[in-house]
Symmetry: C2
Subunit: 202 residues, 2 copies
């Protein structure tokens, strides 16, 4: 089977969303290396049924997701499965960066691009309400959990051209952002991500 891939670029500090049919593949590529992003999936048949970190931990039994891991929804339905992962270091603990976070942690005094608004705005085009958007799967974000529970955010280990591939377990809406937070990107959140989508064979 020859898959036909469609390529989209998520510009630095922005977000895009797509409807992805069951069986299709979605690959996220770190174009330049060292850049993290947020992935948030919602079931297409219930726009309140978004992905859930806690539900995913229930069934996977780990906070470290990689090849073979399934992202579950609030209603315990499989949304995305990681079918290939060239990086292996991602985070599912931290909330999407937000306007308030940039004010509190970075001293921002005016509007700042942020993943929460980029996720909610891109998914709103499909009718997804803001309340559905909770904890995103933070691809390439490198967080070490210490034995005492302390969290340490380190630069992504992803190098240019590396990525991971999800298979849609059902029809989903998926948003992907290129994160603008310097802390999560080795000091610079101004790089793009590339998304490649291969439709399921019909």
């Amino acid at each position: 089977m020859t898959l036909s891939w469609r390529t989209e670029v998520v510009a630095p500090m922005s977000g895009l969303a797509w409807r992805v049919a069951a069986g299709s593949l979605l690959r996220v590529v770190d174009v330049e290396g060292g850049q993290s992003g947020d992935v948030f999936a919602v079931a297409a048949d219930d726009l309140s049924d978004g992905q859930s970190s806690g539900r995913t931990f229930d069934y996977g039994g780990t906070v470290r997701l990689s090849t073979g891991s399934v992202l579950y929804s609030r209603r315990s339905r499989p949304l995305l499965r990681i079918v290939d992962d060239e990086v292996g270091t991602h985070d599912f603990l931290y909330a999407p960066c937000s306007q308030e976070m940039f004010e509190i942690q970075y001293g921002a005094t005016g509007p700042h691009p942020n993943c929460l608004e980029n996720l909610t705005a891109s998914l709103a085009r499909f009718g997804v309400p803001p309340s559905t958007v909770t904890i995103a799967f933070n691809v390439f974000m490198n967080v070490v959990v210490g034995a005492d529970g302390r969290l340490d955010i380190r630069p992504p280990v992803s190098t240019a051209g590396q990525g991971l591939t999800f298979a849609a377990e059902r029809d989903v809406l998926v948003a992907v952002t290129a994160c603008p937070a310097a802390t999560c990107n080795g000091g610079d959140g101004a790089r793009p991500l590339r998304v490649e989508i291969a439709a399921a064979a019909r």
Copy 2:
């Protein structure tokens, strides 16, 4: 200052919610020992602004909450502060147990009491929509995060009469459940919790 405490019992496998004014204290006591529960707080002035595990990790920098830790809302507002903790072992990773979880993990074939419905039903009396209820703070739930990210659920270490006390950082609605999931309670999820509330001095 003499505080006047009001006592409520959360019956086994059930949940209750209260409006708690800023400055008031709410203490959750493990009456018999070895019993976990879920705590979920919502800002009284914005019923979509519920507590957020990821936002709490953002500002606290740890997945282990104890005395001094603040539970933050989606909008980055402080909701509850832990002011006393006799146990020190709680979880903020797992989702509330749900009907679907009992079907998938325990083979339930009919309706089973669960924390998600107990949280949403008790908060619904105050007008809180189900979409607000995400990851609860799982008091007394004992989860070890391995160096590889694997999660290991162990029996609670809380003994009879031990508890922890929250101070309300603003007017909040707070739901507390006594969890029915055997796995989280050393094999038996049929014990009550006690909640003691001391109103702020006026």
